[in-house]
Amino acid sequence: MSATQSAGVMENPGAVAARPTIRRSARGKRGDGLAALAFLTPYLVFFVLFLAYPFVWGIWISLHDWELVGKVRNYIGLANYWDMFEDPLFLLSIRNTFLFTLMTVPAMVVVSLGLALALNRDTRFHAVLRVIFFTSSVFSVTVATLIWIMVLSPDRGLVAHLFRSVGMQPIAFLGSPDWAMPALTVTTVWWSVGFPMILFLAGLQQIPQEIYDAARIDNASAWRRLTCITLPSLRRTIVLVVVLQIIAQLQLFGQTLIMTGGGPADRTRSMVQTIYETGFTEWQLGYASAMSLFLFGVMFLASMLQLYISRQED
């Protein structure tokens, strides 16, 4: 055989005549397009009807004086938004919500991080405790608040029993203007510390053991290992938890509605509670929508903060 035989010299006579025309293949695009429609439609029906459309509708409503029962539907532009900031009740609820967030987020981060650090071990003891601290997170807000209303109750509560046993007068925590907000914070931390704790545990799991081994060989104390290795390695998780917690706590609702009703003297009234009452007891849907969108804006800023911080780090 010749050494100069090169590509394509050999011909297969049978195949020469085969189908001369090539249809430009579009199998990848067109075929998938139909399939995609079939796969996506079920979800998109729900997404459009129960999320996208209501969201846009909410913006529309917020530009109106829109009452559910009275059939009043006047376009009033941004008036609802201006009114909001001259409404002492709403301003108070903003203040309360921010105060609650300011108290709860640091408490939540410290407790969940502390628990995660202490529980990041592979023993049965630690495994059982992890389950215990997470269990409260699976309760509904109704159950969690019921438990803490009982625990804090001045006449029948666990804390009251404790106070009496040491000869002190029980405090009506939820009825006290000074104690009500801290009581909500304690309840909230107790109820939902499990999720951030597990986020931190997941973060801790990702720090390679070799780094700790190297640090031990370098004679680093436990404290040094914590401050120089563990905490810096967890920075991303800490940012994530802080932002998720800010977003979660800004939505404070069930706790105040059930435990204090916003009282005493509106001292624990939250933004969502005001939205709820404006919308569903006063039926001012336009005004309530405007407030909702304001809250959405605040939470949006918080998530942008996380995006910004994580960009900075990359």
């Binding site: 055989m1 050494a3 100069t4 035989q5 090169s6 590509a7 394509g8 050999m10 011909e11 297969n12 049978g14 195949a15 085969a18 189908r19 090539i22 249809r23 293949s25 199998r27 990848g28 075929g31």
Partner: protein, 371 residues
């Protein structure tokens, strides 16, 4: 079983061309190995035949049909993937049955074919196991079994042995060769390993940067490479390529003065060569041997590898180039020593400056191909 024909096939990913117009004929029943360095487009070519990628131009013909617009499942081909791609949640038997079920093959026919394939591959004990309960070699057999039961027109292999350890690789290579003899099926096999190409192929296709460099039988590629790329890619250890100038053109061949000093003669057709032309001399390690003074060139020995069955010597020329050669007599050379190295003119390859080969004379080539 069917022939495969690739006509002017081009493929680009976005603006990046991967294949620049490939023509290739594969006869029915042939074992064709596509070989080339990583990134040369060999896997892409195979995936085009499989229908996993769409060609940007050209035609792919399987049997008598242009299949460009036929989806993979309709091409009646089977493929063995590098990482096996067994369905992890199915047993070996279920893996093998899946394709047949999709093609609505009757139940008892499926059972019969699986039993036959399991026997051929000696994997009967694995049939109820899931992939994670198997070793790499066992998974590979099941993956091959999945291809066999389909009884396809063409078998496609995409670097099937590269995830196996060295020993197992040799064993599976032999089994695939046996399988081909047994099934006499058309097979296309992609690898970057020239040893697999040499041992398995009826026909080797050397691909480089999206172009076919040469197509031919294994020994043809070895003894009559069309250019320095093929010469360098086929053969291990690699061929030594040494630059030089033509000293004289005579009936005994072309005499070349090496840049590094010394002179060697190659028996080639001196097609368009003039005295003084720059050329590249190709010397296979096994063609080089210690020579008498005045012949060949001088080299200083760097390293001697004694493997028992052979002794490889790595030596540097004054110009700094490294050559490898086989010391068949296992003589008592030591590193640091300077030796005289020569080669039989009949065994020398000669390339033009642009890398294209000069045809070795009939006599030299005939002897080489006989060997």
């Amino acid at each position: 079983m069917a022939s495969v024909e690739i006509r002017g096939v081009r493929k680009s990913f976005g603006a990046v061309p991967v294949l620049h117009g490939v023509d290739l004929n594969i006869r029915q029943g042939d074992f064709t190995v596509i070989v080339g360095p990583s990134g040369c487009g060999k896997s892409t070519l195979l995936r085009l035949v499989a229908g996993l990628e769409d060609a940007s131009g050209g035609e792919i013909v399987i049997g008598d049909d242009v299949v460009n617009d036929v989806p993979p499942g309709g091409r009646d081909i089977a493929m063995v993937f590098q990482n096996y791609a067994l369905y992890p949640h199915m047993t070996a038997a279920e893996n093998m049955a899946f394709g047949l079920e999709n093609s609505r093959v009757p139940r008892d026919e499926i059972r019969r074919r699986i039993a036959a394939a399991a026997e051929t591959l000696r994997i009967q004990p694995l049939m109820q196991r899931k992939p994670r309960e198997m070793s790499g070699g066992q998974r590979q057999r099941v993956a091959i079994g999945r291809a066999i039961v389909r009884n396809p027109k063409v078998f496609l292999f995409d670097e099937p042995l590269s995830n196996l350890d060295a020993g197992l690789r040799v064993q599976m290579r032999i089994e695939i060769a046996k399988l081909h003899q047994q099934l006499k099926a058309t097979m296309i096999y992609v690898t970057h390993d020239q040893v697999e190409a040499m041992t398995l192929a009826d026909q080797i296709v050397v691909l480089n940067e999206g172009r076919v460099e040469q197509i031919g039988r294994p020994l043809e590629l070895y003894h009559a490479p069309l250019n320095t790329f093929v010469a360098g890619f086929i053969g291990s250890p690699k061929i030594n390529l040494l630059p030089g100038r033509v000293r004289s053109v005579g009936p005994d061949g072309v005499a070349v003065d090496l840049q590094a000093g010394g002179t060697l003669t190659a028996q080639v057709v001196p097609d368009g060569l003039d005295v003084g032309s720059e050329v590249i001399l190709g010397l296979r390690p096994e063609s080089l041997h210690p020579a008498a003074d005045g012949q060949g060139f001088k080299a200083r020995i760097d390293v001697i590898e004694r493997l028992g069955n052979e002794t490889m010597v790595y030596a540097s020329l004054p110009s700094g180039e490294i050559v490898a050669f086989e010391d068949r007599k296992a003589s008592r050379m030591v590193s640091g020593e300077t030796v005289q190295v020569g080669a039989d003119p009949m065994e020398c390859h000669l390339f033009r400056k642009d890398g294209t080969a000069l045809q070795r004379t009939g006599q030299a080539l005939a002897r080489a191909l006989e060997a």
